[in-house]
């Protein structure tokens, strides 16, 4: 028991190596710490596999994920001898087919594409909005700060999903809602609702950095606000921003899946040439949700994928947080 009061004990990423003479950069140091965290690296590998799966989907699949194979619907996956409807599996469709006869495996692989991009694009947009809002709020203060932070209060006071639902329902049937099969609206909704958290975080960091000596020094030498923001504030705040982004990615992926499950995500694509994004895991679950008894493989494969990617990104994000700020180790979110 006595050791517990001493320190955090042996931590998997604690730096035990010899102190090298060569000084390393901040990101090198973070990468070194991150590399020792097995869970985080495992998460990163799974994430990279999903990225390859999504981008390289055409190479991995033989079946068209949008094609209705007449008479071959509801086939079980190859490891099931017989489906509840007494159908035998077909080796052409290793994960079986859904109720419209579409290949579950290729739909699942193409679903990775949507989830990966939903994890990346809205997070990037939110990061940019949040950085701009948070830095200007923290750096310039005053009325701008007041207005921005009241908006953030408002956004944070209510469950995100409520906003997502209302926004997507409202704009779904417009030209904007139809663009890119509804994905543009989805990205927009995710971004508009979710920038509050990062803005507040960046604002806090900016407030702290603004009063530091090196900023005073730069200002006394006649540096402009823009110079101070980009040269002094941004590089110092980048660590927490990147950690936040890594932890926001799973939330975006879940939001997409949830909206798709409610029938509010991307619109169904009927032909392969129509769009780069063909389906999403949430959509597959939504389409197959009534058939958990007759075709459990449809729901289970996509649910497993969602669970896997989300857990993988979370482990990576947690590891990154510990690597960027070892003091924060084990702290709640």
């Amino acid at each position: 028991m006595a050791t517990l009061t001493q320190s955090a004990g042996k931590a998997p990423t604690a730096s035990k190596g010899p102190i090298t003479a060569k000084s390393e950069g901040q990101w090198q140091m973070i990468w070194r710490r991150l590399r020792r965290n097995k869970l985080a690296m495992g998460g990163l590998i799974v994430l990279i596999l999903f990225v390859f799966m999504g981008v390289g989907a055409p190479l991995l699949t033989r079946q068209d994920p949008t094609e209705f194979n007449l008479g071959k619907d509801q086939l079980p996956p190859v490891w099931v001898a017989e489906s509840p409807a007494k159908l035998k599996p077909n080796p052409e469709y290793i994960f079986g087919t859904d109720s419209a006869g579409r290949d579950v495996f290729s739909r699942m692989v193409y679903g990775a594409r949507t989830s990966v991009f939903v994890g990346l694009i809205p997070t990037t947009i939110i990061m940019l909005i949040g950085m701009i809002a948070g830095m200007s709020s923290g750096f310039f203060g005053g009325a701008l700060d007041n207005v921005l932070m009241r908006i953030v209060d408002m956004l944070e006071a209510f469950p995100d999903i409520l906003f997502y639902i209302v926004l997507t329902v409202a704009l779904r049937e417009t030209a904007f809602g139809n663009a890119a099969n509804g994905l543009l609206l989805l990205f927009f909704a995710l971004a508009v609702v979710s920038w509050g958290g990062i803005a507040r975080l960046v604002r806090g960091a900016t407030l702290g950095l603004r009063s530091r000596e090196f900023v005073d020094a730069a200002r006394s030498m006649g540096a402009s606000s823009a110079f101070i923001i980009f040269k002094h504030i941004l590089p110092n705040a980048l660590g927490i921003i990147v950690v936040w982004a890594a932890l926001a990615m799973p939330r975006m992926i879940i939001a997409e899946a949830t909206l798709a499950y409610l029938g509010l995500g991307m619109k169904p694509v009927s032909s392969m040439g129509d769009s780069y994004f063909l389906t999403s895991w949430g959509q597959i679950i939504s389409e197959g949700r009534s058939s958990l008894n007759s075709q459990p493989w449809v729901l289970l494969t996509s649910s497993l994928c969602i669970a896997l990617i989300v857990v993988a990104v979370t482990f990576f994000g947690n590891g990154l947080r510990d690597a960027v700020d070892p003091q924060q180790r084990g702290a709640g979110k």
């Binding site: 639902i165 329902v169 949830t258 289970l300 649910s303 989300v310 979110k333």
Partner: protein, 332 residues
């Protein structure tokens, strides 16, 4: 303190008002209306019928007036003032033939039922069941993994809590339904809400996330408290380990944990839309999702306002508790 409460109350009213305004604007900008023939429900009303209905429900008035009459109230054709949402009058539902929204939420679903038969009571009871599940499992899990830090127990708990925090409820629900209802036949596939067995799964799904965040938070707090000097003092004066853990560590680390229960309860009451819909649970969440698809304007507005008030009060209550539990925090 009093001025703090007054300022908070004013900003709460403003927050809910802006929420109402935003919901109204978004809702109205959505194409289609409550009388549309949708694929799911072909009503096919003639134009005359639509006009009559529009007048009956006040949809022929200018939009700003629809908003003020919904929120504050309006004078009807007989010159009488009908108070709006501020008096708790959430308006007649379009979908349910003019049944009042507050009745849909709070009144018994059948004429002979009592409050326990109302939709809100169902949601409330599900949230209570979920939170009981979360507290009973989450806090002990957090305490144990802190006491056994960096052992396999800690790692397993950390793994499970990460899954609980990150994997969405409906995915957990699919696995649970598949394993316990479809494969093992332990729980009826078609739920009957007067039987306890049907409640187990939705409460477990909703409670899983709560359990995970409570476990993680408790662990963090415990680790923090364990390193305090007064713990060393307690041990040094020869107290039994059990007393140190229960009286000194647990009590001090649970104070902050109690304060996160506020947002957790609010989240459970409101964030259960999807779980309720999945289990065909007769609560307000499922009803809310359906009302959006039906363009049931007053139902959307009413439910959003109710949820908004609930969340705002939960946050307020938590901020007040902070002040009481930790006198170092000054509210002003």
């Amino acid at each position: 303190m009093t001025s703090y409460i007054i300022r908070r109350l004013i900003s709460m009213v403003l927050t809910v008002f802006v929420l109402a305004l935003m919901t109204f604007l978004l809702m109205k900008s959505a194409p289609g209306g409550p009388w549309d023939a949708t694929a799911a429900d072909r009503k096919g009303l003639s134009e005359t019928q639509q006009r009559v209905l529009n007048r009956q429900f006040g949809l022929d008035k200018p939009e700003w007036r629809q908003f003020t009459s919904y929120v504050i109230g309006d004078v009807d054709s007989e010159g009488e003032f009908n108070c709006g949402a501020i008096c708790g009058n959430l308006g007649p539902s379009f979908k349910r033939r003019g049944q009042m929204v507050q009745d849909i939420l709070f009144a018994p679903r059948s004429p002979e039922g009592d409050f326990f038969d109302s939709r809100f009571s169902f949601t409330l009871r599900l949230a209570l069941a979920a939170i009981t599940f979360g507290v009973l499992l989450g806090i002990p899990a957090g305490v144990i993994s802190a006491l056994k830090q960096n052992t396999w127990i800690d790692y397993v708990t950390a793994f499970i809590t990460t899954i609980g925090i990150s994997v969405p409820g409906f995915v957990v629900a699919i696995f649970l339904i598949y394993v316990f209802a479809v494969s093992l036949h332990l729980i009826p596939v078609v739920p009957k809400w007067d039987q306890t067995a049907s409640w187990i799964m939705p409460s477990a799904v909703m409670g899983f996330g709560t359990m995970a965040s409570l476990a993680r938070y408790t662990r963090t707090q415990m680790l923090d408290v364990m390193r305090q000097d007064y713990i060393r003092t307690a041990r040094a004066k020869g107290l039994q380990e059990r007393v140190v853990v229960l009286k000194h560590m647990l009590r001090n680390s649970l104070i902050p944990v109690v304060t996160i229960l506020g947002p957790v309860v609010a989240g459970l009451l409101t964030g259960s839309f999807i779980i309720e819909q999945m289990f065909s649970f007769p609560g307000i969440g499922a009803e809310f999702v359906n009302s959006i698809f039906n363009r049931d304007y007053s139902m959307i507005m009413g439910t959003t306002l109710f949820i908004g008030v609930l969340v705002v009060f939960a946050n307020f209550f938590v901020d007040l508790t902070y002040g009481f539990l930790d006198p170092r925090i000054r509210l002003d």
